[in-house]
Amino acid sequence: MLFKLNPTTGLPLYLQLMQQIRHGVESGVLQHGDQLPGIRTLAEDLVVSPNTVAKAYSELEHEGLLEMRHGAGAFVSAKRNLAFQMSRVHQARGQARKLIGNFRDAGLDDDEIRRIFEVELLNPAEVLKRR
């Protein structure tokens, strides 16, 4: 899988990596049993600290999306939650579409809508609560 980390988006790199792996599983790029590159390989590839990759892998292992096999690397473990995740994303997309439609009907233009979402998403309270 190809990753792309952006150092200036205001999101820690390990969280970006987690999101991209999660998205990879949801979109089917990554499937149950697939092997991810080792921590060292991926760190060198992305030119980020190995601690960043280690943290992302370990959090995803905690979530049950990755399985770390000693000496062998990280494997995707998505049997159970894949279908659930996909339906969740599908559902959320529908809700977002409806919500955006409502905003447009109310006379907001897309730039304003985008700003509203961005303010909410950048609100650090949510991230802090998750710690």
């Binding site: 150092p7 999101l11 820690p12 760190a43 601690n51 609100n123």
Partner: protein
Amino acid sequence: MTSTCVIETHALSKSYGRVEAVRGVSLSVKSHQITAFLGLNGAGKSTTIKMLLSMIRPSGGSGQVLGKSIDDAKDSVHLRGQVAYVSENKQLYGYMTVEQMIRFTRSFYSDWRVDIERRLLSTYELPLTRKVASLSKGMRTKLALLLAFARQPKLLILDEPSEGLDPLGIEQMLESLVAQCSEGTTIFFSSHQIPEAERVADQVCILHRGRLVLDSSLDDIRQSYRQLELVFLTVPEESSVRVAGVESIRTVGRQMRVVVSGNADLLIERAHDLHASSVEVTPVGLREVFMETVKGK
């Protein structure tokens, strides 16, 4: 991952006559991490590094590197075996060829990593038979990096490692740093190049006019620093938005630009209470954080 400190200083200071180059710096650098030591030219980075390496004596304060005191002569000899240092001017023997320089350095270290030496020789495309004196600045830097990396030190201290390197050279240097960190080496590098630090560093320390003005993990910086653009029809007093965490406020007309190092949600709430007609939040990159810290203090 263990996180004991490999570098620890308390109120470390250095004065040259009346000039205070380093003023009361208390650093703690965790093991197995990549720490970037940022600051403008003349901020005191090299002086601090030289004190850590017992190359110059502090005027005040104390420090430990790998658990050994930095102003103990006996410890200092021991430390030099475990700490690799790439200096700003990359001191090498000009009369030797690249190959001789490598063989000479290798003879001092029993655990020299031939695999790393070979890998970097080919990545850096170093000409083995050329005299060191005739190498370009970038080539000298690469050779100095190779000699430091192949030693497989516990701690690697680099003073402006990207100086003199072209963009490809910088990329290769950063890749080597990452690889070295995977091998268990703690890395402490000084730089005034923000983008390179922003990518590879776990921790960032900013030195300004001899003082440590920021010591934070990049994750924390990314999560807590925000810039808020507020628009008010009636602009409130700046003091009314100065909640904890506000680093700077700039008011132009009805617009207020506020940089916070935390508590962005608190400020958003405050802005709504003050009837802001628009609230925009954007992340703040390390460059802006650096500029804020350096300009403000």
